[in-house]
């Protein structure tokens, strides 16, 4: 199988979309936080807790969508913690973010061991099944790639549009963007910077958790400790790569997923026999670093990102 075969196979493109889906959720979540002025380094841990909570809920007998809701709530809870510490208290977003990641990861591990003390291999749930959209899924190549995905994937793509519309077409989006650019402008127009920023972090964290839940409820069917494996940090790079715009971030996620899907397939080619598989696995992380370097000069960073706002302070 050579490169052309790979690029012309529907399974490859289906994999690209599948790999991109959790990244899209989490990147949108991080983008919302950062647009409001808060860097959320809790993302990695919040994805872990989302992956665990959604899966656990389903394992305990709820429906899949309820599981997604549980995951989102768990994420929002840790988002609330992050927001409380960084917004009204203005604590270092670096330290709190890492602390939330450590806490959320530890909580997931603790809860997993507590509820399943004896198991050696994690139990499986029945995940979301591909939902073939009539007619569209019959289109050659495109159909199986784009229109035979799970409902969560469709949701991810719809969310890109929704978040874009909210950011650029509604009063709420206006307030959100202003909070990340100059919080004083929000305050002077009679709005609460604290409320807007906290809301953004909580909602954004909810989306990150759904991104995590995608892993256990759509991509795989069980929970493993290391399953998020740096995806959160990659999403932070994707937000920068996307210049804080949902559409560009989506492109970034797809590009990134494309390389990831490609490296898996290249491992099966003669090249894979020569190059150690670890080199292929490094591709996502190296790409993220490259993306950061590439965008470092031109990115339009929200001016008040990581700048705490204390009401009335000049």
């Amino acid at each position: 199988m050579d490169l052309l075969d790979i690029l012309l196979s529907a399974t490859f493109w289906a994999a690209v979309i599948r790999i991109a889906s959790p990244l899209i959720f989490a990147t949108l979540g991080e983008l919302i936080c950062e647009r409001a002025g808060v860097l959320n380094l809790g993302i990695e841990g919040i994805m872990v807790i989302g992956a665990f909570a959604g899966w656990m809920a389903v394992y305990l007998g709820t429906g899949l969508w309820v599981g997604v809701g549980v995951a989102m709530l768990a994420g929002m809870l840790f988002g609330l913690l992050h927001a409380t510490l960084t917004v009204p208290f203005g604590l270092s977003q670096h330290v709190v973010g890492l602390g939330v990641t450590l806490l959320a990861t530890a909580t997931a591990s603790f809860a997993y061991r507590l509820s399943l003390p004896e198991v050696t291999s994690p139990p499986k749930i029945t995940p979301f099944q591909p939902w073939e959209i009539p007619v569209l899924s019959d289109i050659p190549l495109l159909g199986p790639a784009l229109f035979s995905q799970t409902a969560l994937t469709y949701l991810a793509f719809i969310l890109v549009i929704v978040v874009s519309l909210i950011l650029y077409r509604t009063p709420l989006g206006l307030a959100l963007r202003a909070a990340g650019e100059n919080p004083a402008s929000v305050e002077a127009q009679g709005l609460s910077v604290t409320a807007i920023r906290m809301g953004a972090v909580i909602v954004g964290s909810g989306l990150m958790a759904i991104g995590g839940a995608f892993l256990t409820m759509s991509a795989f069917s069980s929970f493993f400790f290391e399953m998020v494996n740096g995806r959160g940090w990659i999403c932070i790079a994707l937000v920068v790569f996307g210049a804080w715009r949902p559409g560009k971030a989506l492109l970034g996620a797809l590009l990134f997923a494309g390389f990831d899907a490609l490296q898996v397939r290249l491992q099966q080619t003669p090249m894979g026999a020569v190059v150690p598989y670890q080199v292929f696995l490094m591709v996502p992380y190296v790409l993220s670093i490259l993306a950061l370097i590439l965008m470092s000069r031109r990115a339009e960073v929200p001016a008040a990102l990581m700048v705490p706002f204390n009401k009335g302070e000049r």
């Binding site: 604590l91 530890a106 932070i236 150690p276 490094m282 190296v286 204390n310 009335g312």
Partner: protein, 349 residues
């Protein structure tokens, strides 16, 4: 609500609030123990006993504290300059790789010479690993948090490659591990018969050295000035970029010593699970010590004690060991909040 600075906080604030943070952490631990169906007092007691209840337990705690002192120092040094080095994990493995590389017969030197050479080589490696992200930060403005974090993943894959390829132990029976270090390259025990190696002493010495650098040298002064107000430092003529690089070299070197000391002092070879997140835990150690290098020693022993104690408690009481991770993350968050509240007060109107 809004925050107002307090110019001269009272002693009650300065000591009471951090104490309150620890009390809250203990309270949460008790709640988790209850949740797991265990007696909270017994659980805490078992943790304490497991950490310091016997000579063996205490030595185990000190052994576990050794790498944490190094990574804690690495983080403390970097954070002082507002250089967010979250990559101590990668630097640690860098130090470990070099230790194996040089300690398995490559250098035919006597022990007294070989060990210092390896230590210095390890430090240089760690320093170089952090240099990349720091240059990206000072030259291109790329946030070092994300790059150092991503480097951790790349480094682990690199180690995995080494252990399955060029550095594979032929006698390892397929298990991914490196060959064992020569006797000459191994750090001896401080007291024969006691399971505590010279790495611990080196860690204490490093803490003292960092303290001297920070308080007595121009470099320390520069690092603090850059961390507290980079703009004023630049205006005053302090070369901010160079100071960042020097800080990075120091920080990366210290983190690499953790890997050196673990391999040469304790494990004797390199495996993929050499570090159970020592690099990340170093952040907690450093923050609990308020970035004070001498405080790092104490907080590293405390943190190590909680982890060692939780291991033995878990076997006895059946509460998952991850309680220790939750405790440490909680301690970190409550402590930064407590520190903020020592210098500011909340006004609700």
């Amino acid at each position: 609500m809004r925050l107002e600075p307090i110019p001269n906080p009272t002693a009650l604030r300065r000591f009471g609030l951090p104490a309150g943070a620890l009390a809250l952490t203990v309270l949460i631990a008790s709640a988790l123990a209850l949740l797991a169906g265990a007696n909270p007092f017994a659980t805490l007691g078992l943790i304490l006993k497991g950490a310091a209840g016997s000579k063996f337990a205490l030595l185990e705690t000190l052994n576990r504290a050794t790498p944490l002192i190094f990574t804690g120092l690495a983080v403390a040094v970097a954070f002082r300059a507002k250089l967010w080095n979250i990559g101590a994990e990668a630097q640690l493995y860098g130090g470990a790789i070099v230790t194996v590389l040089l300690g398995t017969g490559a250098l035919p030197l006597p022990s007294a010479l070989l060990i210092p050479v390896i230590a210095v080589a390890a430090m240089l490696t760690g320093a170089l690993i952090l240099l990349g992200p720091v240059l990206m930060k000072t030259r291109l403005g790329v946030d070092e948090v994300v790059t150092t974090l991503l480097f951790n993943f790349i480094m682990l894959l690199f180690v995995s490659y080494l252990l399955e390829g060029p550095m594979k132990d032929p006698m390892g029976m397929g298990w991914p591990k490196s060959p064992a270090l020569d006797k000459a390259a191994r750090l001896p025990r401080i007291v024969e018969g006691l399971r505590l190696h010279w790495g611990f002493a080196l860690a204490i010495l490093s803490a003292l050295a960092v303290w001297v650098i920070q308080t007595r040298t121009t470099l320390g002064y520069e690092i603090r000035a850059v961390g507290l107000n980079a703009e004023a430092a630049r205006f005053a003529g302090i070369p901010v970029g160079k100071v960042m690089v020097k800080t990075a070299l120091l920080s990366g070197g210290l983190a690499a010593l953790a890997g050196f000391s673990e391999v040469a002092g304790l494990k004797g070879n390199l495996t993929l699970d050499l570090s159970p997140g020592f690099g990340y835990t170093g952040i907690i150690v450093a923050m609990l010590a308020l970035l004070n290098p001498l405080g790092v020693v104490i907080s590293a022993i405390f943190v190590a004690g909680v982890f060692v104690g939780a291991d033995s408690m878990s076997r006895a009481a059946g509460v998952p060991t991850y309680i220790a991770d939750i405790l440490m993350a909680t301690a970190l968050l409550t402590m930064v909040l407590a520190l903020k509240l020592t210098t500011t007060r909340i006004r609700w109107r």
